[in-house]
């Protein structure tokens, strides 16, 4: 067995390089949130891994936009004027408020206020719905004017970025819908808010992305 272990021991060595990952995964789940002083990652490690992957994707998209703009400043400034800033700002307000409701839902879970959990998730979901409605109005105006991804580089980025984000709002709302159904069954409370916190973290990410996207694409010049 010794020789087998020798070869095998070699192969497992890289594990030490991943020791940091190990420590991340050992962080205990939501059950011990009573001790507020201890450092705790809300939600599941897997969702945070996922969120980081998503953030990297958008970081690449944002910098691609910014650096391409640097090459075509006049074109970007010209067509940016055709975007509807009012609707963009309104959508920011909707997402911020939607995020806020979900924070309130998590706080309600920690004090076992079952009714407030469901109500706040539903309100957060409705804010997301409002965002989608506003976006559809904005898109129909643009597409109605015959604008497409092939019109020019600015519109290519405008449509790509906002549409990719749009899909994330939809995914976030699907997650909220699941959370709402679960919360009606009384799944979440001070004993366990793990799933709720995981979904909430994703929803806040959708908000965080729009907070960068709105000034970048709609306003900054």
């Amino acid at each position: 067995m010794n020789r087998a272990f020798f070869i095998w021991g070699r192969s497992i060595h890289p594990v030490r390089l991943l020791a940091t990952m190990q420590r991340m995964s050992e962080i205990s789940p939501a059950t011990e949130q009573a001790s507020a002083s201890s450092k705790r990652l809300p939600g599941d490690l897997a969702i945070w891994f996922f969120i980081m992957a998503e953030l990297v994707a958008f970081a690449v998209f944002f910098s691609a936009y910014a650096f391409t703009r640097a090459k075509h400043v006049e074109m970007f400034n010209l067509y940016q004027q055709t975007l509807d800033r009012d609707l963009g700002a309104l959508n920011t307000l909707l997402l911020i408020t939607g995020s806020w409701f979900i924070v309130l839902a998590v706080q309600a879970a920690h004090r076992n206020d079952q009714k407030a959990i469901s109500r706040n998730i539903l309100l957060g979901f409705l804010c997301g719905g409002g965002f989608l409605a506003v976006k559809v109005i904005e898109y129909s105006a643009k597409f109605g004017a015959g604008i497409s991804m092939s019109t020019n580089t600015f519109y290519m980025f405008y449509i790509s970025l906002t549409f990719f984000h749009f899909m994330h709002v939809i995914l976030g709302m699907v997650i909220l819908a699941v959370l709402w159904l679960q919360s009606r069954k009384g799944v979440y409370g001070s004993h366990d808010a793990h799933g709720l916190e995981s979904g909430a973290a994703y929803w806040h990410m959708v908000d965080l992305l729009w907070i960068i996207l709105f000034p970048l694409v709609y306003v900054m010049r």
Partner: protein
């Protein structure tokens, strides 16, 4: 004013006001270095509030706070760099 003791409520209020400022800067047609820096700074503060008070990473293990805030710093710096190049 009791409700402002909740950090989430405070964050929400600041986020709403900040969004209004960005919108207003757009309305008056602010452009150029000062406007860009101001808007990026506002976006940075907003993003940080979402990370710390909405995602509740203020008391999370340092690694995750660093990852998320690091992302925000990285993205803002890259955007700033690109805009700085465009102004030259």
């Amino acid at each position: 004013m009791n409700s402002l003791k909740n950090p989430a409520n405070r964050a929400w209020l600041i986020l709403i006001i900040a969004t209004g400022i960005t919108w207003y800067l757009g309305e008056v047609g602010a452009a150029g270095t000062a406007a860009i820096v101001a808007m990026l700074a506002i976006a940075f503060v907003k993003g940080r509030l979402v990370i710390l008070d909405f995602m509740e990473l203020r008391d999370a293990p340092l690694l995750w706070r660093v990852l998320l805030e690091g992302w925000l710093i990285l993205v803002s710096s890259l955007i700033l760099l690109a805009y700085w190049i465009s102004l030259k």
